[in-house]
Every structure is written in C-alpha cells, then in structure tokens.
C-alpha cells in the first residue's frame, strides 16, 4: 500500500492501460507494446539526465535544445564523410560539453538554474538555425546509423534496449556508488553536505554534464529515427522531458526521486499518445485529453500526500 500511496500516477497509468485493453483490441498486442516502448525511448533517456540535475536541487530546461545540437553535429559530420562511430561520439560529447557549461554557469557564476538554462535554450536554438539556415540535413551517409532506430536485437528494437540499458546503469550509479549517494545528499541539504566536506559544485556540474551527454544520445537517436537532422528536431521533447520527471514525483527542491518511476512515467506518456491514436481521436482532442490525464494523475499524488 505504501508503494501505491507514494506513486499515485502509477495507479492512473494502470487504469488507463486497463481501459485501453478493454476498449481497443490492438492495445495489448506485443507489437503495440513494443511500439509504445520505442516511442518512449528518447524521452525516457533524456529524462534520466533531467532527474540527475533535479536531484541536486537544480533544473535544466535546455536539454531539448542540446538534443537538437548534438543530433545536428553528429549528422553533419557523417554527411561530410566521418565514419558513424566517431561522429556519434563527438555528437554525444558535444552534448556533454554544453551540459558542463550549464553546470559551470549555475555553480560558479551562481545564476538560477532555470534562468541560466533558459538562456542556453535560446542560444542553442538560435545557433542551430543559423547553422542550418532552416534546411534539413540529410543524405545517404545517415543510413549507417539507421540500426539505432530500426535495428533489432533478440527480437527487440535497439532504442528499447538502449533505454533499458541506460536505466540499469543509472540505477546502479544512483543506488550503489559514491557519486549517487553524494547527488542525493547535495539535493536533500546543500549546506549540510557542504559542511560535511562534499564538493557540492563539482557534484552538481557532473550532473549537468551527464544530463547533456544523455540529451546527446537522445539527439543521435532522433537523427537516426528521422534519417535527417534539423535545428528544431528537439523542440517536440521540451515538455515531455519535464512532464516525465514531474509526473514521476522527482522533487523540484532536490534530494528525492526514484529512477524507476521516471521510466514508468516516460512509458505512461507514450501510452497516452498511443491510446488516443488507437481510440481514433483527432489531434486536437488528443492534446486536451493528454493534458487532462496528466493533471488527474498529479492531483491524485498531491491528494494522497495531503491525506498522509
């Protein structure tokens, strides 16, 4: 019962799945479930990074733009003839570097994290558009990373494997390593952590850098999925990333949050869209309904907390 009490959104998620299972005949097919998982992969991966940053009591709203930039860089390098592996590594590394810069601005210049990353969001969006001139970057060279989107390993699509793999890795990092312990400590009481000898700034910068790298992974995967890259390819992820971590109950003030809840929340979001399509709702009706489901799920969480 404790589990349900602390994770109200999961109850709504299960109810929603039951409803879809009863009203549509396609929802519970293995094929559709794999589709949902695949659709949740990029948001799910980038949301891990957002959670790391939020655990330290900060927030990064520039991850969607980092995703675009990293995808653009990797795609452009491949078009100019670089082999896929180094291109992908450089793209992901660029994401990590931007995250590092975010972290430095937030900790060393001490600008509020939301404001600083909002600035970064605008800078990156502008730079990306200046670079592409609004054009789409594509070419046969991009086919070489196609397996990142449609490749199949042991009957499962690669994006799903990457997502689950990263969740397992970060679960271990958060629960078993020094870095994970310190991340939670900084978020739950920064002053006490500092006075216990923790290098608070360094830990927070690490979180931003990792978040940037994970956004970079998301960017490469999105480029693979589209077979192209644009300056605005990350924009559609801006709200889903934030919605996922908030829905998962990651505390906005830091120190609290469960990784598996983030995964479930990412899948829930994909299920909402998927269910709407199966129910044959119009795009506009989908937007109304997905907003309503979110608010209901979050209200339930708050209500339970108040009852306690």
């Amino acid at each position: 019962m404790d589990f349900v009490g602390e994770n109200g959104f999961i109850v709504i998620f299960i109810l929603w799945c039951l409803f879809l299972a009863l009203t549509t005949d396609k929802f519970l097919t293995p094929r559709n479930i794999l589709t949902v998982l695949q659709q949740s992969a990029i948001v799910g991966i980038v949301a891990i990074g957002e959670m790391l940053v939020m655990l330290t009591g900060a927030m990064d709203v520039s991850l969607a733009a980092i995703l675009s930039v990293a995808g653009l860089i990797a795609a452009s390098l491949m078009i100019t003839g670089l082999p896929p592996l180094p291109a992908v590594v450089i793209g992901v590394g660029a994401g990590g570097t931007i995250g590092l810069v975010n972290g430095l601005i937030v900790t060393k210049i001490k600008i509020n994290a939301i404001i600083a990353t909002l600035g970064m969001l605008s800078i990156l969006g502008g730079l990306a558009l200046m670079y592409t001139q609004g054009q789409t970057i594509y070419g046969p060279a991009l086919d070489s990373i196609d397996f990142l989107s449609s490749g199949v390993l042991l009957g499962v699509r690669v994006p799903i494997i990457v997502m689950f793999g990263l969740y397992v890795i970060f679960y271990v990092v958060l629960s078993r390593t020094l870095f994970g312990a310190q991340l939670y400590a900084v978020g739950s009481n920064e002053k006490a952590a500092w006075l216990s000898g923790l290098r608070v700034d360094r830990i927070r910068i690490m979180a931003f850098a990792l978040a940037g790298m994970l956004a970079g992974v998301g960017g490469v995967m999105q480029a693979a999925r589209q077979g192209s890259a644009t300056a605005i390819m990350g924009d559609e992820f801006l709200f889903p990333i934030l919605t996922t971590v908030v829905l998962a109950g990651v505390s906005l003030s830091g120190g609290k949050g469960r990784l598996w809840n983030v995964l479930i929340a990412a899948i829930f979001l994909a299920t909402i869209t998927n269910g709407m399509v199966l129910l044959g709702l119009s795009v506009n009706a989908q937007r109304v309904a997905s907003g309503a489901i979110l608010i209901v799920a979050l209200s339930l969480d708050r209500l339970r907390q108040r009852v306690r």
Binding site: A185, N189, A192, W194, G197
Partner: protein, 494 residues
C-alpha cells in the same frame, strides 16, 4: 513615580516544564528598566507574555493600573506596548517608509494616504535625530544600527507608551551602540518607558535606572542600579554552583594541531591568534555578536577570511570545508535542522556522509556492508536512540539528532573538532552524555574547540578559555578553576 507595568505571580510552563514561576515585579513609568539572566532563565518567555505572543498560565498583569491581558501582539500594540525582537521583524526588500508605517498606515477614504504617511514618518525620524535616513531606500541597504532605529521609529509611530527591546546591541558595532543610546535617551525624554533585555552588564550600568534578575524562571531581585555592584548581579544570575556535573579534566596536551595567526574577517572578528593542541579542550566564549560563531566557521573554511592564517595539522594554503575534512577536522554546526543533518535521509547515511569517499571501492562503488557496520558501531557507541538505521533523521529527538551529527565526525575519524553550541536546546540527560563524550574524545587525543555561550559548560569542560568581545580576544583563562563570574565579566567588559 507610579508603576506603569505590574507583574503579579506570572507563571508559564511548556509541556509540564516550568519556564516562569510566580514572577512579580513592577516597572516605573518613564524608566529604563533592565532585565537580565542566563540563557534559559525565562527572559524570552516573559517578553512573549508581555507582548501578547504567549498567554500566561496564571498570574495577572496591570498596565497603568488597569488589568492587561493581551490576546495577541496586535492587541498589546493597541494598549501601547511595543516589542522589538532581535531579528527586528522588518521587511528587507520594502522601503524605509513602507516599513515605518506598516500595520498602521494612515488612510483616507479607505486608501493609504501616502502624503500623510510621509509626513508622519519624517516627523518621527526627526524626533529620533535620524532624519538622514532616506525614506525611499530599500531597508536592506541600511546598516544594522539604522534598521534598529527604524524598528524603534515604527514602534513610536504606533503611539507606544512602553517599548520592550530584546538584546538590541547584540549585533551592533560601538558607534551604532552610541547612536542607539542617544535614541533611547530621546525616547525616555518623550515619556516612553523601556524594558531592556541585555547580557551586557557594562551597558546596563550606563543607561538603566533599575534592573530585574531572573534565574531558572524565578524572580531573584529587582533593584535600583545605584544599590548594587556588578559582582552581586553576576552572583544573582548564576546562583547555585555547578560542580559535580562535569567529568574530570585531564591535562596532557600534545603537539600543536591548529595554529591561528592574525586572523581577521570583513566584519565579524579581527586579529585573532591562538593555538590548539591534541587532547586539549579549548573553549571560546563571548556574548552574541562577539564573533565567536563566525570564527568557528572560518576555522573550517565556511566563513570568508580577509587576512591571516589558519593551519590544521599539515594542511596548507586556503581552507574549504572539503579540505578541512580531508585534513581530519570536523565541524558541528549551530543550526542542527538546517546545516547539520540530511533530515530526510537515513540515520545511516547521515553518520557515514563524511566518510563515504573512504568507503568507495573500484569504479566508485560503495562498500555497503562496510557502511552499515560503520553506522551500527556509532549508534552503539553513542547510544543513539533510533527505530532503525534506515529511519530518516527527522524522526529522532533533538538530543539524538545531535549525537548523530557528532557520530558523523567520529565515523570519519576526525582528530580536530569544532563544536558550535553543542548542547543548545538539548535536554539535560543528553547534555551530560555529550559532556562525557567530549572529555573522552580529548583523552584519546582529539583536539576540541568548544564554542559556546553557556558559561557553566565552558568553565566546566575546558582546560583553557578564550573570551571574545567585539570581534577580538578580550581575555584568556588557563588556570583552574575557571570562574564563571570571571568569564562573564570579561565577556561583558566590566
């Protein structure tokens, strides 16, 4: 002269523990009446009852001969009794003017009359000879002394007949204190009666006409200051002797582990030099605002240093908390709730927080059974009462939280400890456990810097005591026995 305020057998208890027991005295109209007593003597409770923030359990109050029973601070204010607490209760981001008229804004047809407010504010600042303070400046741009004056001016604007001030000079420098005293004289000339709470005996002898001493919640004496000496007042405040409470001290100081040379900060302290040896308990005491707390933080790298040197063990260069911890030093902060513990994290993690890097193995993986053993061992040694190692620190009592905070440094094997007010707000039983622990640690060679306002624990535990006043070392006591009275005299400067 007639009595303006009369207290008759005022009592108040908190969950069965009496804070005030049948306190009776009266304050003459137009006088500056001082109220003194040690920490915990009941001064704050008394102020809160007078200002309507707390009801008395029994007893009666009379103001100007009329029964006075304020239900809340607002009603007290309407009866003409204003209170200025140490933290002043002003709004830092609003203007001086807005602060002055807050709560009694002049209105015209239901709207605030800005012109009238300005005229009234100017008049009252003139009256206090403080009309150089700009009305439109945001309050936070004012120096502390000026803010104090704004708080007084606000009380005057509400037409108060009596003003209660709680340690108004605690955080002021000497020039600001002089300015404040002038204002107080002006107030008295205008017929305002003052009840002045202070630790500073020198000030009291300078400006007060009468004094009331409280001890352990009881009234000891009310007298004209011309009829008493500082030594008698100190004896009244301390009362019973405290021998037998503290563990025996042993004198076997080892090598120097901390040397502080000409240390100064921008505002809190200046030119502080001393040494601390292994196995020694060195206490630093002083009144609020003496700079001792900031000095303690600076020795841990947690307060900015302007000039001078701190050297722990063989640590070199600038000092941050992380470097201090790496050198083997721990700090027990004064503010347990906000600076010491991760309240929502497990007791286990709170204990191991500082030693975690040493529990990390290859790839940064934590030795989880090692972590649990470390925490379990400390819980047993210090007899921390917790439901389990996984319980959040929030559920522990204040005393057990403090033991958990100490356990963090014992687990980390700290060889130097800075303890800031280690027994503040802790019940008596745990207090003595902590005293015993401090003595034990010293015996095993840990160097302990005990920074405390509680003179009895300072005198009872330390081998050496440094007394600070106004940011400087005022006196040092090394010869046993250390007299509490002598410490108080040095701290107050009489």
């Amino acid at each position: 002269m007639a009595a303006l305020l009369q207290l008759d057998r005022i009592s108040r208890a908190f969950s069965g523990v009496p804070a005030l027991r049948e306190v009776s005295f009266s304050v003459e109209a137009g006088a500056l009446h001082a109220l003194i007593g040690e920490n915990g003597a009941g001064k704050s409770t008394l102020i809160k009852i007078l200002s309507g923030a707390l009801p008395a359990d029994s007893g009666t109050l009379r103001l100007d001969g009329q029964p006075y029973q304020p239900r809340d601070p607002r009603q007290a204010l309407r009866s003409g009794l204003a209170t200025i607490y140490q933290e002043l209760n002003l709004l830092p981001s609003r203007s001086v003017l807005a602060n002055l008229v807050l709560g009694h804004e002049p209105t015209r047809r239901g709207l605030i009359d800005g012109k009238q407010a300005r005229i009234a504010a100017q008049r009252v600042l003139q009256q206090l000879q403080a009309d150089t303070i700009p009305l439109d400046a945001p309050l936070h741009e004012l120096a502390l002394g000026q803010r104090q004056i704004i708080a007084i001016a606000r009380a005057l604007l509400s037409d108060c007949r009596m003003l209660i001030m709680d340690e108004p000079t605690a955080a002021l420098n000497s020039a600001e204190v002089e300015a404040l005293f002038k204002v107080l004289a002006t107030l008295q000339a205008g017929g305002v009666t003052l009840l002045y709470v202070s630790h500073r005996l020198d000030e009291i002898f300078r400006i007060a006409a009468a004094v009331t001493v409280l001890r352990d919640g009881q009234h000891v004496r009310t007298t004209a200051l011309s009829d008493i000496t500082p030594d008698n007042l100190i004896a009244d405040m301390l009362g019973r002797s405290l021998t037998g409470v503290f563990p025996p001290r042993e004198q076997h100081a080892g090598e120097v582990v901390l040397s502080v040379e000409h240390l100064s900060s921008a505002r809190a302290f200046e030119e502080v030099s001393f040494q601390l040896r292994a196995g020694e308990v060195l206490a630093i005491t002083g009144l609020a605002g003496s700079g001792k707390t900031e000095l303690g933080q600076a020795l841990f790298g947690a307060w900015p240093i302007a000039r001078g040197q701190v050297r722990w063990f063989d640590q070199h260069g600038s000092l941050s908390p992380a470097q201090a911890v790496a050198a083997g030093v721990g700090l027990l902060p004064e503010d347990r709730q906000n600076e010491s513990l991760l309240l929502d994290a497990a007791v286990q993690r709170n204990i191991t927080l500082a030693v975690l890097p040493r529990l990390a193995q290859r790839w940064g993986f934590l030795d989880r059974s090692g972590e649990q053993r470390t925490a379990q061992q400390q819980v047993e040694t210090l007899q921390i009462k917790t439901p389990s190692l996984d319980s959040p620190a929030r559920v522990l009592s204040g005393g057990n939280q403090q033991k958990t905070a100490l356990a963090k440094w014992l687990a980390a094997g700290a060889r130097g400890l800075i303890l800031l007010e280690p027994t503040q707000g802790i019940d008596v039983g745990v207090k003595f456990e902590i005293y015993t622990l401090i003595a034990q640690l010293a015996r095993s060679g840990t160097a302990i810097l005990l920074i405390s306002s509680e003179l009895s624990e300072v005198a009872g535990l330390a081998q050496r005591v440094i007394v600070m006043r106004g940011g400087k070392i005022a006196a040092e006591f090394a010869d046993q026995p250390i007299e509490v009275g002598a410490l108080l005299r040095a701290a107050a400067g009489v």
